[in-house]
């Protein structure tokens, strides 16, 4: 670098450094990662469905039309056909995206908030506090994710808020473990010792200095956890424990489609494709962000 500085002069060197910094910024790295961009494209597409459902959906998702039940995909006015009550499947899928993605994002938020707090405290305090919290997390993780959600849903009852809570609680242990591991690394760094040295309080150190340095894995894990939560919502609704009709969610559209698999296979097929695509989108994006933010985590 040194000889270039001489030949190009200070100003040009600064411009070059700036260029290099820009091309190495997280966003530029993601832009170069084709699969991550595909993931982002899918996620943005789904977000557009969520936000503009009212404009994009050609029909009211709950509008019955008993004269035109089980129309096949491609029927005039109904690209994806209609279901057992003659409701437009495209409109139900578009409105269903709202519930499915809201639940997934909400559950991730619940799991992340509680899990991150527990992980911070556990990793920072160490000792008996750490042992108690982590053994509880281990115990929770011993229950298969879906089983824990099923039991929680049985206790809480169906409904959007309860699904968010049930899936969110099942999400807690993973966030706690990720953050705890990261805190262990960060708290021994010199700058943390320096902050203690100048007499900062524990909460200040924890939230102002340690938390920001654990964000990369949290962001990565939150993206992947959103993908997992979409599957969980769909699975719970599919089992009849999640979002109950007439509110459309991808899971309960799939459940209805299961009943009519022989006569109207398009209902199950199309709703499942949307679940798969969205999960794929969040997974691709999460993998991409991980590669960019934390190359060491790259597997």
């Amino acid at each position: 670098m040194e000889h270039k500085k001489d030949s190009l002069g200070g100003q040009a060197h600064a411009v070059m450094l700036e260029k290099e910094r820009k091309s190495n910024s997280a966003w530029n790295k993601i832009k170069r990662n084709k699969t991550a961009m595909l993931g982002l494209f899918i996620v943005v597409f789904m977000m557009i469905l969520v936000i503009f459902a009212g404009i994009l959906a050609p029909y009211d998702p709950n509008e019955l039309s008993l004269g035109s039940t089980y129309l096949k995909p491609g029927s005039p006015g109904h690209i994806f056909g209609t279901d057992e009550f003659g409701r437009d499947l495209l409109s139900r899928i578009i409105y269903g995206s709202r519930i499915s993605i809201l639940v997934a994002v909400g559950a991730t938020f619940v799991g992340a908030t509680i899990g991150v707090l527990l992980g911070l405290v556990s990793g920072y305090a160490g000792g008996i506090v750490d042992s108690v919290i982590m053994r509880i997390m281990d115990g929770m993780m011993a229950f298969p994710f879906i089983l824990l959600s099923i039991i929680l849903m049985t206790i809480l009852g169906t409904g959007v808020f309860n699904v968010i809570l049930a899936v969110g609680i099942a999400n807690i242990p993973n966030f706690a473990r990720v953050v705890r591991g990261q805190v262990h690394i960060v708290k021994n760094e010199d700058y943390c010792k320096a902050v203690i040295g100048i007499g900062a309080s524990h909460p200040r150190l924890l939230f102002k200095h340690i938390l920001p340095n654990t964000l990369s894995p949290i962001i990565v894990y939150a993206t992947l956890s959103t993908a997992g939560s979409i599957i969980s919502e769909a699975a719970l609704s599919f089992l009849g424990l999640g979002i109950t009709p007439p509110t459309a969610s991808w899971g309960n559209i799939l459940r209805a489609g299961k009943e009519t698999l022989n006569t109207a296979p398009h209902i199950a097929t199309i709703s499942g494709i949307f679940i798969l695509l969205t999960v794929l989108g969040f997974n691709l994006l999460g993998d991409g962000i991980r590669d960019v933010l934390d190359p060491k985590m790259k597997k």
């Binding site: 042992s131 229950f143 089983l147 929680l152 262990h184 993908a227 769909a234 794929l280 985590m297």
Partner: protein, 320 residues
């Protein structure tokens, strides 16, 4: 290393206690009256009260918890009222069925994914690698309950080749059971196959670029020997960890898969028990499942310590 193993063994005691406690609390929270559920809708108030007394439901929660712990230690999980036989008998009857499809699917996944991952790694950026990785990405994102429905749609409804429900019976010959197994196993194998392929590929890629592989090449060893003998051996530890994790997670898939195919295993047993409010059965089956998970994880960790003594257990436990 003995000390590490002992430490790991002692560590599972509090975890098991937490598992037992969570199960106790959760089953107590399930709404409904267990005594009324046992007696059915025609029971009179007096009968229900007598049953509550008999089942110990009027005892303090503390006493109920202690009784429950005592019974678990004795291996007594109570009686399922909907089947009217001891919970333990039901569980021992169903576990082999779940193991049959979950282990078969894992073996299938290993047999497909490891060669696939190796070839993908050797031919990095080839069309083969590209297609395998796209399929693997789709595979890990697959909602398997949907995949199950699609398999039924194609192979049972449209082609009529395979049965879609139940388990068949050995009385009708081996094929009857095998034909019933094919769809659930294919369904269950999808995610592990995709996961193992990805981890085998990335682990192999890391190893093949190592200096010792280059020096083996320089010494003129056959490429086949280098890949399958030297590289693979060094690439395996992460793969084994992931296989272990999937072994423990296989049950999650089994719950959904069994529901779709009405496979008489632990998954359908638990979902049925929850529907029927069969509290004893829910409690016993959930507890056994969670404890199995703890022990499988323990086994995987111990195996990992043996094959890879370098691993520093303390830092592994803390890392993500």
């Amino acid at each position: 290393m003995v000390k590490m193993i002992l430490q790991r063994l002692i560590q599972i005691i509090p975890t098991l206690l937490v598992v037992v406690t969570i199960t106790f609390v959760l089953t107590r929270l399930i709404p409904g009256n267990p005594a009324a559920a046992v007696l059915g809708p025609q029971a009179s108030v007096e009968e229900i009260e007598r049953m509550e007394e008999e089942m110990g439901l009027n005892d303090s929660l503390g006493k109920q918890y202690v009784d429950y712990l005592k019974n678990i230690v004795k291996g007594d999980f109570g009686k399922s009222y909907s089947y009217n036989i001891p919970v333990m008998d039901l569980i021992t009857e169903r576990i082999p069925n779940t193991l049959l499809i979950s282990l078969t699917s894992l073996v299938l996944a290993i047999l497909i994914s490891i060669p696939l991952g190796i070839v993908s790694a050797i031919k990095q950026y080839s069309a083969f690698d590209y297609i395998a990785m796209v399929l693997a990405l789709v595979g890990v994102s697959m909602p398997i309950f949907w995949l199950g429905l699609m398999l039924v749609l194609v192979f049972s409804v449209n082609l009529g080749w395979l049965p879609s429900l139940g388990m068949g019976s050995m009385n009708n010959g081996l094929w009857d059971v095998v034909s019933h197994m094919i769809l659930p196993v294919a369904c269950l194998a999808t995610i592990p196959t995709a996961t193992f392929t990805r981890i085998t590929r990335s682990s192999m890629l890391e190893v093949v670029n190592n200096d010792f592989i280059k020096s083996l090449r320089a010494r003129g060893l056959k490429e086949r020997v280098i890949i399958y003998k030297h590289a693979l051996k060094n690439a395996l530890p992460p793969v084994i960890t992931v296989i272990g994790l999937q072994l423990a997670a296989a049950f999650t898939g089994a719950i959904l898969t069994e529901t779709i195919f009405s496979w008489p295993g632990m998954g359908t047993l638990i979902t049925g028990a929850i529907e029927n409010r069969d509290y004893m059965l829910v409690q016993g089956a959930v507890l056994i499942t969670a404890m199995a998970f703890v022990f499988v994880n323990l086994a995987v960790d111990l195996l990992y310590m043996v094959i890879n003594p370098k691993v520093n257990y303390e830092s592994k436990g803390g890392g993500a």
